[in-house]
Symmetry: C2
Subunit: 221 residues, 2 copies
DNA sequence: ACACTGTTCAAACGATTGTTTCCAACTGTT
DNA sequence: AACAGTTGGAAACAATCGTTTGAACAGTGT
């Protein structure tokens, strides 16, 4: 088998170690020694550790945004000539399918989700800002379609609910290994990622379609 | 005003810095200089940085478990003499009330939630293990009550759904500041923590009561 | 007065971090 | 074959990390 080139070996090793231990807890020496490349290679090829982290994300997110845009194009085309709005279930289904599809090619979904979870829980959130700036457009397109699919929801309410379910998905899938251990020993429940997605589906839909909250209690202190 | 003692000053400063920047990214020198105590004070009073982190959690979780046990006692007593089972909404309501109540006294709920989020997203999860071991009993008691409140759910399904909503709550409240910024500038929506809890209520209830997923791939091996 | 306790302090320890330097090895063009 | 430019590698860089040390300090009891 032909050895992958240095850049690829670094990325492959880095994403696994980052996912396992976090960014600050993973040293460049850790990565380079496990990847069998020289320590200086990271700074040579990527410039800095921070740039390496962003490169790891880009390798997942670039193909994801591409495919997701394509999938949304197709979805919109289907519903254009009959003039119907895309139902919420189809939107969520499309997103789920794309998320499952992308890393399945070469990388691991578990790693991808763990990285996303880390990015969002990251301290001052300069990673979250990077993701928001770099990939915010596809997210805005998605939310606009969700808006048309759920006209009964006030804009602010929909915004929060989308983040509620985002939390559910990222939290669950990024902590998958630990949760799976507990589930197996407590309930003899052997669950795959696809099982989990199947379990998530009705929960997410119900969450989005939940009744509106009662009117805000008297604000002001 | 009387200066709090050294231990308290360290804890007060540490929890804020940990919540802002994470555990690995916050150095002891950072904490001690801001708290106006000597660097060696941390190792003297707590033994190690890891022990300090656990102490920060204990200061939140110890009073929480105490009050939550008491609240559940009261709830069970109310429903004992009329023989009814405690409805899910009341269970969730009680938990929410306790969570809001505890840090309100002296510390910040935002900090508490951020710490919880960090603990769960933490790498190898030795913090999660610590929390699980130290405070697992109150969580098990709660899940057992939820079990009686939702007899129609298979055990495994309820387990996963509880973690789904746990993800929603922790993810949302721990990333509150960043999300609030976006919400305000995009929707002129000024939310307080209590607003968010009000918004969470119907979503969480609907998520727990969502229809069962379509037929399992292969349940019960 | 002394000894004993718990606490604070400045200084240093060894280890590890991200990054840079300098030279050898290689690649492709002339 | 000779050169120029790119890539690889071992070593060193300065900075920062958590932790330890030993002395000074303040009370308390005898």
């Amino acid at each position: 088998m032909a050895e992958p080139d240095t850049v690829t070996r670094i990325l492959d090793t880095a994403e696994v170690l980052f996912a396992e231990r976090g960014f600050a807890e993973t040293s460049l020496r850790n990565i380079t020694s496990k990847a069998n490349v020289n320590l200086a290679a990271v700074n040579y090829h990527f410039g800095s550790k921070k740039a390496l982290i962003q490169a790891v994300f880009a390798r997942y997110l670039d193909p994801f945004t591409l495919r997701f845009h394509a999938a949304l194009d197709e979805l919109e085309a289907q519903h254009r000539h009959d003039g119907s709005t895309i139902p919420l279930e189809e939107l969520l289904e499309t997103m789920a399918r794309t998320v499952l599809e992308v890393p399945a090619e070469r990388h691991s979904l578990k790693v991808f989700m763990r990285l996303l979870g880390l990015a969002y829980s990251q301290a001052q959130g300069h990673l979250r800002r990077y993701i928001q700036e770099q990939y915010g457009s596809v997210f805005r397109r998605f939310t606009e379609l969700v808006r048309r699919a759920t006209p009964e929801l006030p804009d602010a309410e929909r915004f929060w609910r989308l983040h509620f379910v985002l939390g559910t998905v990222i939290f669950t899938l990024s902590g998958l290994d630990a949760l799976r251990d507990i589930a197996e020993q407590d309930y003899q429940d052997h669950v795959s990622v696809r099982d989990l997605v199947r379990r998530l589906r009705p929960v997410v839909v119900s969450a989005m379609q939940a009744p509106l909250p009662e009117l805000p209690a008297q604000e002001a202190v």
